[in-house]
Symmetry: C2
Subunit: 430 residues, 2 copies
């Protein structure tokens, strides 16, 4: 793979998400050769993907070129590559652009949308885990309204304006809120010749509360906010099938819809050669010890969403969020230095900084370790925190300006169908 030999030990990091980048930043300053591989040439700030889908932000301002983050480090190499297999006996990573030996390997591949094996659902519904997926959803939402204008068929028009979001975690809640704001603030002005009051946003949650990873008060308040915005919240209902037209559930409730967004689960992106049953948790994440080492290996690690470090505080691993991934990347970076110096490793300790979700303008919920709050202040804190963790000064500035603009003008100007998604909907029911 054209990577020169170095006098330093070679660490291969697979994945340029929050964990991989944090680790690479740490290691590049030390005596290591660092090779970071990713399928994309950019880091994605996933928490803001829903704003790309809803025309509030441009994709370019929540992405950042990986080469740029790590520019200037002499023994750093980025490779745009897809990993095909890991050979753990020979310590080689096989990729679509060639093979490479490693001294240390870190798997930081993250997660992808989990359709739990339901092919029909996967084919017909929209996911929102990557920038291209978010742009497809943006296009489809806008195309639906353009198409709704044209039809005389009552069912077809209703279905085109009916959005069903499955999954009441942060992604589902934030997307539902954003769509509700579009319905209220933008649709009546953009589509005066369409009765946009009939647009519906349905949020379907399998369990008995939204945001199950947050506090009860946050859940309750998030539901209140969504209902104030006109979102229909359905609890204790699981969507079981969707043929592109009709979504059925485990109850009598069904939804006739042209757009089903699936935010009801993620699964770890595992690699061939590191996917044996005894390496994986029940939810298919890579089991790791308190030093991020994968079962049975001293020099192969996993961090971030793909890893499951079980402890008494976190029996099912840490929450799948940016914070644990970044902290793990930093901890592993320090430990690799210790390892090479023959020092004892420091077990990972997660410092919970809390979690937040935003529902709409002036409406957010925040659970911090010491106190929980909701409303306007939580919303400002949410914005500040997200700006802070965005990579790159330009990105921060552009996102900030968009937010100020959207706030002052009640608008979202990036409602552009740059690449049409072109799934023409036709009702099959009447």
């Amino acid at each position: 793979m054209n990577i020169p030999q170095s006098s330093f030990k070679r660490v291969i990091i697979i994945g340029g998400g929050f964990g991989g980048i944090a680790l690479a930043k740490k290691l590049c300053k030390k005596e290591f050769q660092v090779v970071l591989m990713d399928k994309n040439n950019y880091h994605t700030f996933q928490p803001l993907l829903y704003q790309v889908s809803t025309g509030g932000l441009e994709p370019d301002s929540i992405a950042y070129p990986i080469r740029k983050v790590l520019q200037g480090y002499p023994d750093f190499y980025f490779r745009l590559a897809e990993v095909l297999e890991v050979d753990v006996t020979k310590n080689i990573v096989h990729t679509n652009i060639g093979d490479l030996k490693f001294d240390y390997l870190v798997v930081a591949t993250g997660t992808e949308t989990n359709f739990f094996g339901n092919r029909e659902l996967e084919k017909n519904s929209m996911a929102m885990k990557t920038i291209p997926q978010s742009l497809n959803l943006r296009s489809l939402i806008l195309e639906n309204f353009e198409q709704a204008l044209l039809t005389d068929d009552y069912h077809e028009r209703e279905a085109l304006m009916n959005f069903v979001i499955v999954g009441g975690g942060p992604t589902g809640v934030e997307l539902a809120g954003a769509l509700a704001e579009i319905k209220k603030g933008i649709l009546p002005k953009d589509y005066p010749d369409l009765d946009t009051r009939r647009a519906q946003i349905n949020l379907v949650q399998g369990s008995d509360r939204l945001l199950p990873a947050m506090s009860e008060i946050a859940s309750r308040k998030a539901e209140d906010f969504l209902e104030q915005l006109g979102v229909h919240v359905w609890k204790n209902i699981r969507v079981e099938s969707y043929d592109g037209n009709l979504a059925t559930t485990n109850t009598d409730t069904t939804f006739e819809t042209a757009t089903l967004i699936w935010a009801a689960g993620v699964k770890a992106i595992t690699l061939k050669g590191l996917d044996a049953g005894d390496l994986l948790s029940r939810s298919q994440r890579l089991l790791v010890n308190e030093y991020h080492q994968i079962n049975g290996f001293e020099h192969i690690f996993a961090i971030g969403d793909v890893a499951q470090m079980e402890s008494s505080d976190y029996p099912f691993g840490h929450p799948m969020m940016a914070q644990p991934a970044m902290q793990q990347g930093e901890n592993l970076g320090e430990n690799l230095v210790r390892l090479s110096e023959g020092k004892a490793l420091k077990p990972f300790q997660y410092r919970d900084k809390g979690s937040m979700a935003t529902i709409g303008r002036n409406k957010a919920v925040a659970d911090l370790p010491k106190f929980k709050f909701q409303g306007v202040f939580a919303w400002f804190v949410w914005m500040f925190v997200h700006l802070y963790f965005l990579i790159g000064f330009r990105n921060r500035l552009v996102v900030f300006i968009n937010w100020v603009y959207n706030y002052v003008k009640f608008d979202r100007e990036a409602r552009l169908i740059i690449r049409p998604y072109k799934r023409k909907y036709k009702t099959q029911l009447d």
Copy 2:
């Protein structure tokens, strides 16, 4: 097409470019029903496409939702539609979403890239007239460097880093300058493991000077600037074929390149039913009289790049730029009011405000009616004028911030391969 009958006369405008938008803005304030059709739901600010291709700007900030520009006008309708045919006897426009009768029809479809019938060239080269095309080019440029890193083949690596731009008009000149700046400022930092000094930018012009529509001094100065930036300028050479690997010309000169960008010609986008030979100029533009009326029609008009209004000052029509299109849109708007009031029409008079091109930081050329200047001042004027004519306050602000950032940091952060173009190059020569 679900457009309600109105007591006002119906004007159908085909195309939401500079001309179509200027006209619609004018007419919406008067007693007309205005129906604007476009293939996209956004207006494209074409003069800045080359900055999207070179990672300097995000696509969303040079596009603007058409519905938003004309929000709030009671008898305005936008339709996302492709026009299939115009029936000039029955006064009906046929589209992919249905038919619509008109009282007045305005063709403002603009131009597309002209490959002069050379299919091989069209298949293998990149065009840059639309946002998706510009994003494809952005992806390809970046993919080329990622691929150049991987090969041990000398010819292949050289060809991947060799960019051939055909056409020395503003598009070709501005793109060549931007690529040269990337070569100098970004490649060495992003690709320290690649000898990026070997990257080449070739600009090939068929005639004996660049920017032939501008003054001699502007042409000379633009060429100077490009050579200072390290661009190879080839004059009096016409590229005749390109098989994806080797470009041949009408001379002995050939270019082995993985990327040929074709900016050597445009052609009018004509419509079936309005494409009879006697309606078209030699360059296939719609011939119009001084009231923008198409030959033989009182109520069918053409404006902008697609129209050719021949006069003693402009024997081959007005220059294909934003200014004439906008002025024509405004003039036609006033004339349609006069027509409906039974008043005499006012012939169109083009007020030449000059033209400009930018080559790089602090390097631009400007021909204003009263004086011509080049260098830093021209560059600032160029930026100011482009910001002024961008639609939308948010777009202006975001573009401005990007420019300040890029200027101060010598950087362009939108170097993202959001959707890979994936044309894997393989040299066929060695």
